[in-house]
């Protein structure tokens, strides 16, 4: 890739960046609350986002900038296997439809802001609350770092070099998130999502017409994999189980993350969430088509230094400069929305489930909002430093582990909606087993997400996160059976809080 700066592309980029920055600061006045000095306002936008705002916000926050870069890159590198993101982002929605309205109702009735609040309110256990909340924070940190990587790729594609542009972009983001809270990404998401839709639609219509149609795109990819001797446009028999277990495990984990839960809790009602479960798959269609850009990279015969360059190089090669600039702006802005929501989600967890519990139980609502604002800043600065100072692979590995970790909070967060059978010590033991056992397996497999299991001489690779979840549930059931139910201090706390 050349380092030449295309002025028209740069001008488009600067225009959109200035636009969303203005929107970010203006957002504090949007649907103005009496005061932003309350975590329900700063951190959840007042819990009144309707169907469309929620659609843009959750869509903008779940389908991240890194997705736009990484999914086509994976498909470019290995083919069909990279498509697991498609079944994953389909089967996640029936789950959202069934579970999330119940969680929203519990949150609204009892004023929960975070997953930690839900767990404390349900089981009255400080220990379980701390486990769930800290899992949320550490799983989110590398995810924010990945958004920076996505943004870096887009900025580099514009020909801008050095670290200043990304530092500047992130500081601006930190400032308006500080002042506007969740309203900022909610408002910016409109711009970001519409831009991404335009970019992907243009790509899937224009690119195949320049490359001889979809048949030609698929044959070119097939030929490239054949020549490489690796990958293919269909799954190899050994990839079947990894494909479905990654899809299922990712779907179960997806809405356990603080940023997705924040989008859910911020919506105006259970029905808003149900309608979104019907409407959000529109983004999945987009993602599926976007993934095909990986194959178009083969059809266009791109020479790449890194797989992550497939999307930017494709746009540079096949589109005029200004439109390439538009596409890179969409990706860079696409990083701002999830990064903001993630830092808000992590800040909410820290404030509600750590600061308020262990540091200052007497904190006022205004004090909570202040702590969260500062934390959101620190979280972003931390992610920025991590990207500037540590190898990129470090963030990728941590992100992989983060998915496994966050999945271990599912039993504590979700089971209580359906049954009162499980008690806190059992869920805590399950969480600990899944978390440590799963991390140990990933570590022993050389930081790969798949673990090989042998049955009767047949070896199957399974997504380690699912194995860890199975261990988690088994341990929780066994401990619940073995440890006698007695009135513990935690139970008394729960009763006291309920009253």
């Amino acid at each position: 890739m050349t380092a030449n700066i295309d002025m028209s592309a740069l001008a488009v980029f600067i225009f959109f960046f200035v636009l969303v920055t203005a929107m970010g600061f203006f957002a504090s006045r949007w649907r103005r609350a009496e005061s932003l000095d309350h975590l329900d306002e700063w951190g959840l936008g007042g819990r009144k986002f309707g169907t469309w705002v929620t659609w843009f916000l959750v869509g903008g926050d779940f389908y991240t900038a890194y997705t736009v870069i990484a999914v086509p890159a994976l498909v470019y590198a290995i083919g069909a296997y990279g498509f697991f993101a498609l079944p994953y982002t389909i089967i996640v929605y029936p789950l959202v439809f069934a579970v999330m309205p119940l969680l929203w109702k519990a949150a609204k009735e009892r004023g929960y802001v975070t997953a930690g609040d839900v767990v404390r309110g349900t089981y009255g256990s400080r220990a379980l609350e701390l486990a769930v909340a800290s899992t949320g924070v550490i799983a989110t940190m590398p995810y924010i770092a990945l958004q920076l990587i996505g943004m870096e790729v887009a900025i580099k594609a514009l020909g801008l070099t050095g670290e200043m542009p990304i530092i500047l972009a992130f500081l601006v983001l930190a400032l308006y998130t500080y002042s506007s809270g969740l309203r900022a990404p909610a408002l910016i998401a409109f711009v970001k999502d519409i831009m991404i839709y335009i970019v992907v639609l243009a790509a899937i219509i224009v690119v195949p017409s320049k490359l001889g149609g979809y048949s030609a795109v698929f044959s070119a990819a097939d030929a490239a994999f054949e020549a490489k001797g690796k990958g293919g446009i269909l799954l190899d028999p050994s990839q079947l189980v990894p494909y479905v277990t990654l899809a299922l495990g990712s779907a179960l984990a997806a809405f356990m993350y603080p940023h997705t839960l924040t989008g859910i809790f911020a919506s105006s009602g259970a029905n808003t969430i149900r309608k979104n479960a019907v409407l959000l798959p529109a983004y999945t269609l987009l993602l599926g088509l976007l993934a095909l850009l990986g194959y178009m990279g083969h059809a266009a015969g791109l020479q790449l230094q890194s797989n992550n360059d497939v999307v930017p190089t494709l746009f540079k090669t096949l589109f005029p400069g200004w439109f390439a600039g538009f596409a890179f702006s969409a990706i860079a802005i696409g990083a701002l929305v999830p990064a903001a929501v993630m830092s808000i989600g992590a800040a909410n967890l820290f404030t509600r489930n750590f600061w308020k519990v262990w540091v200052n139980p007497e904190v006022t609502p205004a004090g909570e909002a202040q702590v969260a604002k500062i934390t959101s800043m620190l979280v972003k600065v931390g992610a920025l430093l991590a990207i500037l100072m540590l190898p990129t692979q470090f963030a990728l590995d941590l992100q992989l582990l983060g998915g496994l970790w966050i999945l271990q909070t599912l039993p504590a967060l979700v089971f209580g909606l359906y049954t009162g059978w499980f008690r806190a010590p059992a869920l805590l033991a399950g969480w600990a087993a899944g978390f440590t056992g799963g991390s140990a397996l990933v570590w022993s497999d050389g930081l790969k997400p798949l673990h090989a299991l042998a049955f009767d001489g047949i070896t199957v690779s399974v997504y380690t996160g699912l194995l860890a979840l199975a261990l988690n549930v088994v341990v929780a059931v066994v401990v619940n059976l073995v440890v006698p139910a007695k009135e513990t201090a935690d139970d008394r706390l729960a009763v006291a809080e309920a009253e």
Partner: protein
């Protein structure tokens, strides 16, 4: 009972032998691709049908 329809996408997508082949193609897309893409609107539709059937409690 109608809620059980929500399980259909799991069955349709998590059993890969249903769709891991090239033919029949549609608009140049091998079956593997258009089958999975077709599940997107289908899942929306199923969820919508279930949505219509649940009690709307806010």
């Amino acid at each position: 009972m109608i809620r059980l329809l929500l399980l259909a996408p799991y069955i349709g997508l998590l059993w890969v032998p249903f769709y891991n082949f090239e033919e029949p193609k549609l608009f140049g897309f091998p079956f593997f691709y258009w089958y999975q893409l077709a599940w997107v609107p289908l899942t929306s539709l199923i969820t919508y049908v279930v949505y219509r059937s649940v009690r709307h409690d806010g």
